[in-house]
């Protein structure tokens, strides 16, 4: 069975005809060519695929495109404004919060969601909140620093 899906991605209306089994991450990467959202595990563990649906962080490898029909989706590509990085992206850059960068889109999307819920998290809270995001390079240290720095800039 194929179905029609329509949603807003990064503020733009998009639509497509997809197989029912199409995952949101496949729709984003393969149909829309938004390849910033990564697939690290495809088993719901790593968080590389995190995007926002109606403002909330979700794993797009564990969400059907059909389940996102009619929603507003934000991916890493939708964060920068007028050529200027989002404060969270800027903080990751400034604090060297990435090495290979594979986990980074998911980390940034998760970190923004974290600050939405908890504007000024302490270090322990940040580490706990990152349970759904795996990084094999950085040891998390600079990711935590970047999120703390972004929390200050974002005025929580």
């Amino acid at each position: 069975m194929t179905i029609a899906v329509a949603m807003k991605v990064n503020g733009k209306a998009v639509s497509g005809q997809v197989e029912a089994r199409t995952l949101l991450v496949q729709f984003l990467r393969e149909n829309l060519r938004l390849t910033g959202t990564h697939v690290g595990c495809d088993t719901s563990q790593c968080g590389a695929c995190v995007v926002h649906i109606n403002g909330k962080a979700v794993k797009s490898c564990t969400t059907l495109a059909a389940q996102a029909d009619g929603t507003e989706v934000t991916t890493i590509e939708g964060l920068a404004r007028d050529g200027k990085l989002h404060p969270m992206q800027e903080a990751f850059r400034e604090h060297h919060a990435l090495q290979c960068g594979f986990c980074t889109p998911g980390m940034v999307m998760s970190a923004i969601d974290m600050l939405r819920r908890i504007p000024r998290p302490d270090e322990a809270t940040i580490r706990h909140e990152l349970e759904g995001n795996i990084c094999r390079c950085t040891g998390y240290h600079n990711i935590v620093k970047a999120i703390q720095a972004a929390a200050k800039v974002m005025g929580g």
């Binding site: 719901s44 059907l64 389940q67």
Partner: protein, 261 residues
């Protein structure tokens, strides 16, 4: 994942009717148990009936003596809204990670009846009632075994009603990679007595009567110090032996009593 027919239901009645027409249908709530299972081809339903947007299944209602949670309410919403039962709020906050909590639902969790899931401990620990499209089922009668419940084919969980306890707490020893419960113990003191419900340790949630009796006489961690559960029949895997889990049941139970008292 094999392909399937996708339907989005607008109401409970519509979902039940769609299910009746499907040759091998499944309800789809958050999809955070079902989709991973389908990816592994451990389930191959012909039809998925999406119940995630049925308004009547969404939300937490506080009544004078109970908290009623709609079946399609995500864990994050229970964590934010079940204020009348702090132990339930805290349990929801410990499920998986933030992203899982945005999508996973209470109805999906209990219908799935994973031996290491957290909600079964809250349902049995608080003596909750499960409302389906057909009937109400006491939590004690709902969980039947490993991935098995009292639900019949095509029966849908509509809501879960948790009576407010006098005091309650849930203590979980998480499996560090998945955060599922290696052992989780929910202890509640209610007007009707004390309930101790254990998840993660056995094939399905179970109560520990000896602890309940001892705690009824005296609600302190010391009251159950010497009360152990037999290791025989408990889960044993690379994360922990049956003996280890049996030991953890007592440790987590005492911690839960300390937190509730």
């Amino acid at each position: 994942m094999y392909n399937f027919n996708y339907h989005r239901a607008g109401s409970v009645d519509e979902a039940v009717a769609l299910m009746a027409k499907a040759s091998d249908g499944r309800f789809l709530a958050g999809g955070h148990s079902l989709l991973p299972t389908m990816k592994q081809r451990l389930a191959q339903p012909t039809d998925l009936i999406d119940i995630g947007r049925i308004a009547a299944l969404n939300g937490v209602k506080t009544e004078s003596n109970a908290v009623v949670v709609g079946a399609a309410t995500p864990h994050a919403e229970v964590n934010a809204s079940a204020k009348a039962i702090p132990a339930l709020m805290a349990l929801a906050a410990k499920i998986g990670d933030p992203h899982v909590r945005h999508r996973g639902t209470i109805g999906g969790s209990i219908a799935n009846s994973d031996p290491a899931a957290d909600y079964p401990a809250a349902l049995v620990g608080l003596g909750a009632t499960v409302k389906t499209n057909k009937r109400t089922i006491a939590a004690d009668d709902f969980f039947k075994g490993l991935f098995e419940t009292a639900l019949s084919d095509g029966e849908m969980v509509v809501s879960v009603s948790f009576p407010k306890p006098e005091a309650a707490a849930y203590m979980k020893f998480p499996q560090p990679a998945s955060r599922f419960a290696l052992v989780g113990v929910f202890v509640a003191r209610t007007s009707g007595g004390v309930r101790v419900a254990v998840t993660g340790a056995g094939p399905s949630v179970f109560r520990v009567k000896a602890m309940e009796d001892a705690l009824k006489a005296k609600f302190t961690p010391d009251a159950i110090k010497g009360i152990t559960v037999p290791a025989k029949g408990l889960n044993s895997d690379i994360h922990g032996s049956a003996e280890y889990r049996a030991h953890l049941v007592n440790v987590m139970a005492r911690r839960a009593v300390a937190a509730a008292a």
